[in-house]
Subunit: 146 residues, 2 copies
DNA sequence: TGAAACAGTTGCAAAAATCAACTAATACAT
DNA sequence: ATGTATTAGTTGATTTTTGCAACTGTTTCA
């Protein structure tokens, strides 16, 4: 473990700006008028259903502050991609649920994502790709700890 | 495999603002008064010496527009971390060179980066880490093509 | 019962990114 | 060689994004 850890900064630095840009370009092609981050919100709502994250949670997952997330969700709600409803068990919390339309947008996003990913991963063997995702998830979970 | 695989975008969506934030926190501790992005500029200048990227190139690498990079470089030049000089072979281009002070800041940045990275990679075995970086390199080269 | 904590909201201020227009230099096609 | 297009860099104005602090309503807990 001590051996090969090199600075991630530059590496991550480029992927972290390049990937969203590639996604944004694809969104434009397909006339999706939302930002990458807005679609990430939808993805989080969809894929973290079990824990049903509220705005605060989403903000933590995305490392944004809650005002930012609130404003993204305002737009998404206005456009009917998701719905807010007060949690009956804790009326401070907003339960966020995807609408049919919102779900469709997650599908579109995943399609774009897949397109970009396949492109980037082309030429690698499956097991390496698996490991990559594993490590990436690990990093993500470590970041959550703060 | 086809079922509910979390798209890469979701992970990237969560780490992409986390990493600069973690770096910024470390910078604050060590009283480095620059942003993560500014330090990335220095790193690019240092590590892409062979191709001696000009402002435009740096902008492309970082997926920012050239005005943004220009202003970052203004600051870095004012503070004596790098120098601009006109390329004698093409007087439109500015050759960017690190000063001694600038180099020292890249060292500091790399140290911070390493600290963060080690932390994030903790708990992974060496071969996974190796694979991860291998895949990362691959992705990066693919992104370069675009 | 009251203090502290928490999710959400709002408006304002600060920071960052974008855009269009411009200069100066170079490349290139005719 | 001449003029057109392209390129790197620069600037100022504008817009977008972000961050902060204060506030509400609700819950927790001592």
């Amino acid at each position: 473990m001590k051996a090969e850890v090199r600075p991630l900064g530059m590496t991550i630095g480029s992927i972290r700006s390049a990937f969203p840009k590639m996604m944004a370009d694809l969104f434009k092609d397909k006339e999706i008028k939302y930002t990458f981050d807005q679609m990430v919100v939808l993805l989080i709502v969809r894929f973290c259903q079990k824990t049903s994250p509220v705005q605060q949670d989403i903000a933590e997952i995305m490392n944004k502050n809650k005002s930012v997330v609130l404003r993204m969700i305002d737009v998404l709600e206005q456009d009917g991609l998701l719905m807010r409803s007060t949690d009956p068990n804790d009326r401070r919390r907003n339960i966020i649920t995807l609408t049919k339309k919102g779900y469709e947008y997650t599908e579109l996003t995943i399609a774009c994502d897949h397109e970009v990913t396949v492109n980037l991963m082309e030429g690698l063997n499956e097991s390496d790709v698996k490991t990559f995702f594993k490590v990436f998830d690990h990093i993500q979970s470590k970041m959550g700890v703060k």
